[in-house]
């Protein structure tokens, strides 16, 4: 990168003058808070703090859910300001974010990714497909639902869920984690 380039300098400079696009945080989703009722244990609280490392696994999605998960990182939602970030390896992850009806050809890869994620770990199933296979349920090629393969802590519905819905679900997960963390003896 060469900072002398006029177009880049101009863009960076005008960027300083424009107001930020990032929007206030939505309220954590009540339904998600209820689903997450499970008490986090002490080790989990210590580990999670106020940050979540997410490893996304596409287990047979139509790629629609991925588009909206990507959007979480744009300037409007800026998911990193909440300490939520996407990581490249399941070994670095607290959360597996799984999309799709789980095709039979992705089942093993999902199981192995889950096994490679260190405990404590959470699984968030994203999209209507992840609940029960959605409109692909009943096909010879899908297992039908993420929870049929790995235990799921939170479902975020939608086809695909909007970035706001995704954010509300993730904030509920964070809130749950930090609430139990504050109550730590």
């Amino acid at each position: 990168m060469t900072c002398e380039d006029p177009p880049m300098r101009k863009i960076l400079f005008t960027g300083l003058l424009r107001p930020p696009l990032t929007e206030p945080a939505p309220r954590p989703d009540d339904g998600a808070l209820a689903e997450l009722g499970r008490q986090l244990d002490r080790a989990a609280r210590r580990r999670l703090g106020r940050s979540l490392a997410i490893r996304q696994v596409d287990a047979g999605s139509c790629n629609g859910c991925e588009l909206e998960i990507h959007a979480l990182s744009n300037a409007f939602y800026d998911v990193e300001r909440f300490g939520i970030h996407f990581v490249a390896s399941p070994r670095h992850a607290d959360v597996l974010m799984v999309t799709g009806p789980v095709t039979k050809s992705m089942r093993e890869a999902l199981e192995r990714t889950y096994a490679a994620t260190p405990a404590p770990k959470w699984v968030v199933a994203v999209g209507d497909c992840g609940v029960d296979g959605g409109c692909f349920a009943g096909s010879y090629a899908v297992v039908g639902g993420v929870s049929a393969v790995v235990p799921v802590d939170l479902h975020i519905r939608g086809c695909p869920p909007s970035p706001t819905a995704l954010l509300q679900g993730l904030l509920a997960l964070l809130e749950q984690a930090s609430a139990s963390s504050a109550a730590r003896p």
Binding site: P6, I11, V57, D58, G60, S105, A141
Partner: protein, 447 residues
């Protein structure tokens, strides 16, 4: 089998019954048909006589059934090792990548054979996201099948919905109201804009230039928000239905779309300027991942992959379909065939799409949004230009108006093999960049 002759723009559909379960291999003479014939073997159990590569393609052995669309034989799920093609020579090593990748992308396996940093051979193995959509469609009512069609490849949900709807309308011989035709095109161009912004940003990001992605991401988000405000869904899913459309555009919506165009026209040129004048970025994209025009022609590569390598094909123009036959737009073509050319094609197409949205907004006919579909048997086919290339849908309807059979072919079928060719001789580290510049669909291919 659908055939297209470039010289005359003629389209033909051939049917061949295979009572003894065999048909002469097309791939034996025309390699682009290879993966399709391997798929026919997997799904229907029909043998292509003369087919040289008889490894399974979509069937990874885990379905518990063989030939699910043909004679259906129960099978014990078992995963047999997949024999990759050999590469021989001194000091070659293999790098297996996937199916789970490091980013937020779809699953597939890439087997690189490299000599040091240089890729000697890339072999793809796809099929991980095969959901059996054509199996689910057989016997489904039209509304259910249309929903499935809109979920073949989420990024092209409008294009697929239009292609499926047009095929149904061809089979049932119905005319769609002109307002619906215009609204379909409007949604299709918004989808193209959103995807092109996403891709331009993502290619630059894979060249370690995150600034472009940040700005393109804002433009993409603005398109999706406008789509949500106007049509009630960010990706405009299920808004195009057989017979017409399921969402109207009111005066407020028109105003919102005009504002959107204004904003894009104010911001996009400076991003193009940024792309064009950042040497570190050009250093990565120029002359990387070159696809030779002859190969693009041979594989009839659609979309930006073909048009960046000299193939001036765009389904909106040839065979063409309404309302595009009455609209002004150019089909940009370049010859260089590298990552840079594929980015420039997208940039030019953004400009064309803006012009198309202008025209569509200026001249939106009044009238009904949809017509009733008659219950009748028939066969129909449609070719529609999605942002990544031509989507073909063929289907046959039963006398009770249900789908008897439906086949949906993504442009990716003929682009994926070309990625293998384009990466040859590049360094391994350029693969993400090349891959993104193609941006083939996994789900659209795996079905």
């Amino acid at each position: 089998m659908a055939l297209f002759e470039l010289a005359t723009n003629g389209i033909g559909v051939l049917s061949l019954s295979c009572p003894d379960g065999r048909f002469p291999s097309v791939a034996a003479r025309h390699p682009p048909a290879l993966r399709l014939e391997r798929t026919i073997r997997d799904l229907f159990g029909l043998e292509a006589e003369g087919l040289t590569d008889i490894r399974p393609w979509l069937d990874h052995g885990g379905w518990g059934v063989r030939h699910p669309l043909g004679g259906r034989i129960d099978a014990i799920p078992e995963r047999t090792p997949y024999p990759f093609l050999p590469a021989e020579g001194e000091s070659l090593h293999q790098i297996p990548v996937g199916p789970v990748h490091a980013g937020i992308i779809e699953p597939g396996h890439f087997r690189f054979t490299a000599n040091g940093e240089t890729v000697v051979r890339l072999e793809e193995r796809l099929g991980y996201v095969h959901k059996g959509v054509e199996g689910l469609m057989a016997g489904a009512d039209i509304a259910t099948a249309a929903r499935l069609a809109g979920r073949i490849s989420g990024d092209s949900t409008v294009a697929y919905a239009v292609a499926f709807a047009r095929a149904v309308e061809a089979a049932a011989a119905v005319e769609v109201p002109t307002r619906a035709v215009h609204l379909r095109a409007l949604m299709a161009e918004l989808e193209r804009l959103a995807n092109h912004f996403g891709d331009i940003g993502a290619v630059c990001n894979d060249a370690a230039f995150a600034l472009m992605q940040a700005h393109c991401g804002v433009l993409r988000e603005r398109v999706l928000r406008a789509a949500d405000a106007c049509f009630g869904h960010r990706l405009m899913r299920d808004r195009v239905v057989p017979g017409g459309v399921a969402a109207d555009l009111d005066e407020a919506g028109r105003g919102q779309l005009r504002d959107l165009l204004d904003r894009i026209r104010r911001r996009f040129p400076e991003l193009v300027d940024l792309y064009d004048n950042t040497p570190s970025l050009q250093d990565r994209t120029v002359s990387t991942g070159v696809l030779a025009p002859a190969l693009a022609r041979h594989y009839a590569a659609g979309g930006h992959v073909g048009r960046a390598s000299g193939r001036a094909f765009d389904a909106r123009r040839t065979p063409g379909y309404p309302p595009y036959d009455g609209l002004r737009f150019d089909v940009p073509v370049l010859e260089a065939g590298d990552v840079n050319a594929r980015v420039w094609i997208r940039i030019r197409e953004v400009e064309q799409s803006l012009g198309l949205v202008d025209q569509l907004l200026a001249d939106l006919p009044a009238g009904p949004l949809a017509v009733e579909l008659p219950c009748m048997a028939g066969e129909g086919m449609a070719l529609v230009e999605a942002f990544r290339g031509d989507v073909l849908v063929w289907l046959r309807l039963d006398p009770d108006g249900r789908v008897a059979r439906c086949h949906l072919r993504d442009a990716s079928w003929f682009q994926w093999p070309l990625l293998e060719a384009a990466i040859e001789g590049c360094i391994v580290a350029d693969f993400p960049l090349c891959n993104k510049s193609f941006n083939c669909s996994y789900s659209g291919h795996d079905l």
